[in-house]
Symmetry: C2
Amino acid sequence: MDRSTPASRGAVVDAACQLFADRGYHGTSMKDIAEALGVRAPSLYNHVASKQEILFAIMDKAMERALAALEEALAGVEDVSEQLRRATESLVLDFLRFPAEVTVCNTEVRSLEAANRLAIVAKRDHYAARVRQIIEQGCRSGRFSTRTPQIAAFAVLEMGNSAKSWFRPSGRYPDTYVASEYGEFALRVVG
Amino acid sequence: MDRSTPASRGAVVDAACQLFADRGYHGTSMKDIAEALGVRAPSLYNHVASKQEILFAIMDKAMERALAALEEALAGVEDVSEQLRRATESLVLDFLRFPAEVTVCNTEVRSLEAANRLAIVAKRDHYAARVRQIIEQGCRSGRFSTRTPQIAAFAVLEMGNSAKSWFRPSGRYPDTYVASEYGEFALRVVG
DNA sequence: ACGGTACTAATGAACGTTCATTAGTGCTCC
DNA sequence: GGAGCACTAATGAACGTTCATTAGTACCGT
């Protein structure tokens, strides 16, 4: 990291995010984060109050962004099939564009202190509930055919995770193409 | 843990597995593992050489079991649709029956030392390749219809992960029922 | 039946290292 | 001259691990 400009809170959070994604929260030290910024560990405390605060900031920002993207993707869409397609595409696009943030959200909930965990889990559950509602509504109206809408919802949500494990921005498919593929998969899962 | 019987290597590995799944490798201390067994930390070294060795033992055992289950599930099955269904069911059943082991395999590859990581990743890749081959063969023979067999393979493999995040043995569906649902999902994904 | 021996498994103490964090100090730019 | 930001130095706590030692148990030849 460039040392010509002073480190900012945002730079600390971003550097930490990449490291937490690669090595985990407990596998990353404040010294590691500082080194990524070309600075000594105690200097980080000029920008953040604690290591735990960094973790919470990463996850809260990521959840807010994902929720906003979902709402935007669904705005004004009436057809339930189109809703599921767009929700899935929004989800996968978020995974592909912010893989580090998403990885941290997926793996470090357990490293949050109790109060922070409650806040993040609530947002995550809200996201999952939104997708489940779509599938349940589709089942009620007969557009979808699944014996187990809840299980299908979990499957669709999880499916997208696979994308970020192999996707490379320089690869053969653009992110929007990959997202549309997963949108198709989601519609197939619900029949 | 019962202190009437002495701790064995297997007991150490099992206790560590649960803790690693809950708190992560770096989030679990040797003292934590020892306490779960009703013993002091140094006593663990009568049974294992190092903390890292415990992690490797957990993951290697889990991978071997999963690979064996896959081979058994596919033995003698010719039809490619039936192959995919059985592979998925085998995968999901493994997830549901050994959630802690699977969680460790999914999240702690990064905590393995280089040599150990190579060994585990090779087995994981072998598993994934087996499933991908089935889907690719199905596409070639026209039984499946997917533009992107590789992506579909990743989606199917990942999908199963969701099962263990909500499944409870005491819940309303038996594990075999859940597994068969995911088998159905997999077939739908490939068309 | 008995003493000797080897083995297993546990212990407290201590090792050196790393951890997150605090205190205090100085430079630099407005 | 004051705010912002980095520094060095130092803190207590926790980490994985090693060590010498002890208690209990099982097998052995006699």
